[in-house]
Amino acid sequence: MTILTETKDGPLVLTPDQIEELGKALDELRARVVADLGDRDREYIYSIIKAQRGFEIAGRGLMYLGFLPPVWLAAVGALSVSKILDNMEIGHNVMHGQYDWMREPDLNSREFEWDTVCPAEQWRHSHNYMHHTFTNIHNKDRDIGYGILRMDESQQWNPLRLGQPLYAFALMMLFEWGVMGHDLEVENIVRGRRSWGEIKKLVKGQWRKAGKQVLKDYLIFPALTGPLFASTLAGNVTANLVRNVWAYSIIFCGHFPTGVQTFTEEETAEETRGEWYVRQMLGSANISGSRLFHIMSGNLSHQIEHHLFPDLPANRYPEMAPEVRALCEKYGLPYNTGPLSKQVASVWWKICKLALPPSLVSSESAPSVIVMRQQKATEVGV
């Protein structure tokens, strides 16, 4: 990694020894938490599951009184909360293998399915493997722009980018469908890098999974409320929208606010464990908030901790955060965090700014870090 920017005291340079030390400190933190996993974590995830099921049943039940506007709102609220918990604190984290150590078949990363149109198996590939291995590396991490957005200055601008705020808005509203389509890499098919044949099997799996979701939310449950069909349908559509907007916002705040670094393949070739940790820290951003807020964001508000330790139970991230932050301070690394409003505004500002041709906007020099490699200090970018 060889990116350089001036900090107010000059460029921040990390020596190979410092990086190794930092890596060891993080390994130790990890080992301590792993050794401590037990009943508490088990009870935590089951309490979240219980809450999610409760909200779901309440939401579905209240739809039968959906002709009363306040009840309809409450039903939508409960169902939205249920879907958010299912997707974020339960689904996302379980499928990361955070609870595999419990050897509980229902909470096994290979078995779990979540309440969204994207088949778990495909998400594990596009997210657990692709995004978490190649975090913020250009042309490798497909989460940079999700194939439709220009989220970094090094992505080429063209006139179609002018519509970017619209595309981003559409992606936000239809987020679950965007996540579903992610593994298809449609833009690579358009560019001729991927054949239609390759995606046939994926589409089949999506058809099966999405079909069931659509049937449940948009046909069976509305039909079960009889004369209230339209009101229940509208309620279910709204709950899915709320979940989409929330998930999109939390996820975009994890990697795209001002101050997050991106990397090139050359910089990250043959990374050491310590260098991998540093990239995860520099490429992620947190959101500050209350305990309830962290739970509702699936603890992705602790995106930095999540990227350092993607397979540790998410309820541990808040406890680990002060130590990670102290390590960042010790080595002068940025620990990118802020309230939701600030991070969301920062993301939308970036979406709008990068929609414009580079000649119109000032290039922003993000606070970056020089990471010296074991063999030789590289000077690329200096």
Binding site: G38, D41, I49, K50, M102, R103, D115, Q213, K216
Partner: protein, 370 residues
């Protein structure tokens, strides 16, 4: 019923219906088999007898079969195999397990110390081919030792219950009379059935030691005599060549019986159940190469132990159950390389074959999908 469950599951998709029902009560399940401990008895030192009430999906067991139960210890679900000791029967609505707490036995010690009525365990249907033939043979010889008594006891009780008229001998080895599980019941069975001969052996005890007074003494108990051999067999079951013989116990006992039967060319009349695995010592020259756990991206130098142990040593936690090669919980696909079955010594190098991690050790480089 099944169709109804499927219909309801359309509403709970993508989660199975049981994921909702179990929140009300863990034993309220549409599909998942579980059991609740209803009775706990600690009669012999170091062992515990549990009575389980399974959920309605339970289809009973055949005497000699085993079941797999899952118990949560410190947040982690551990599964182990045990043979029910109660007689088989279609209408049998409960399961009785007698579990000896082994030193270092995580699950057996946990159950010995903490099992209490109300505890709910995961359950798998009964399995295993170690069982009495449906048409009962005219002569039956049961041999067992230590905790190997469990499947054989179920056979004995089944035969007693159905009024078996043939000739039967049960030969059992233990360290001392107090360590014989269900000893009073063995006595009662021996007394009630003239055609049953129950012989208890305590080879390690001094011959002159007084046996604890038991009200009835219908079992023959001998202290200080030797371990199993041909003469002993001749003495207790001179008709053994015409019998079907069922053996379960420590490796030394199994080996001794097998040796006699092979010498007599009676191998096809001998039925055995392995309870403990005696790993063949690994030849030092065998141990080389690298084991790659491809699904986790971890590799380690081959240490000569089983793939399951090597995976765990490498920090992975693959699923496993019995750890002795019977339940197939730990099955994973071997992509490339050669593995040796530590029970049989057989080697195999067919690519992309599912193998059991707990009883296969790598021979040289192996890539396994874990």
């Amino acid at each position: 019923m099944v169709d109804l469950v499927d219909m309801v599951q359309t509403l709970t998709t993508p989660h199975p219906l049981d994921r909702y029902l179990e929140l009300i009560r863990p034993t309220l399940t549409a599909r998942r088999l579980r059991a609740e401990v209803t009775h706990v008895r600690r009669s012999t030192p170091g062992s515990v007898t549990l009575t389980l009430r399974p959920t309605r999906q339970w289809r009973g067991h055949t005497a000699g079969q085993y079941i797999q139960i899952g118990v949560v210890i410190d947040g982690v679900r551990h599964t182990r195999c045990y043979s029910p000791v109660n007689p088989e029967g279609r209408r049998e609505k409960h399961i009785q397990l007698t579990i000896k707490s082994h030193t270092g036995g995580l699950v057996s010690q946990h159950l010995y110390q903490h099992a209490a009525p109300g505890m709910v365990v995961d359950l798998e249907p009964a399995a295993g081919t170690f069982a009495l033939p449906e048409t009962r043979p005219e002569r039956i010889l049961l041999i067992s030792g230590g905790s190997g008594i469990t499947p054989v006891l179920s056979m004995l009780r089944t035969l007693a219950g159905e009024g078996y008229q043939g000739e039967l001998t049960f030969l059992y080895y233990a360290k001392s009379p107090v360590l014989v599980p269900h000893r009073a019941e063995l006595d009662a069975i021996a007394q009630a059935h003239n055609n049953f001969r129950i012989e208890l052996r305590y080879p390690g005890r001094h011959a002159a030691d007084e046996l604890e007074p038991v009200t009835i003494r219908s079992c023959t108990e001998i202290s200080g005599a030797g371990y199993f051999d041909y003469d002993e067999l001749e003495r207790v079951a001179p008709w053994f060549a015409e019998a079907q013989t069922f053996v379960c116990g420590p490796q030394a006992l199994m080996d001794a019986v097998r040796k006699v039967y092979e010498a007599e060319q009676l191998g096809d009349r001998l039925h055995t159940e392995e309870f403990t695995l005696n790993f063949a010592p690994v030849d030092d020259t065998d141990v080389h190469g690298t084991v790659s756990f491809s699904a986790s991206g971890v590799s380690a130098a081959n240490s000569g132990t089983t793939l399951l142990e090597q995976a765990e040593a490498a920090g992975l936690s693959p699923e496993y159950g019995c750890r002795m090669g019977i339940c197939f919980s730990c099955t994973a696909v071997r992509r490339t390389g050669c593995t040796r079955n530590v029970r049989t010594g057989e080697t195999n190098s067919d690519p992309d074959q599912p193998i059991q991690l707990c009883i296969n050790a790598p021979v040289g480089d192996v890539e396994i999908d874990v």
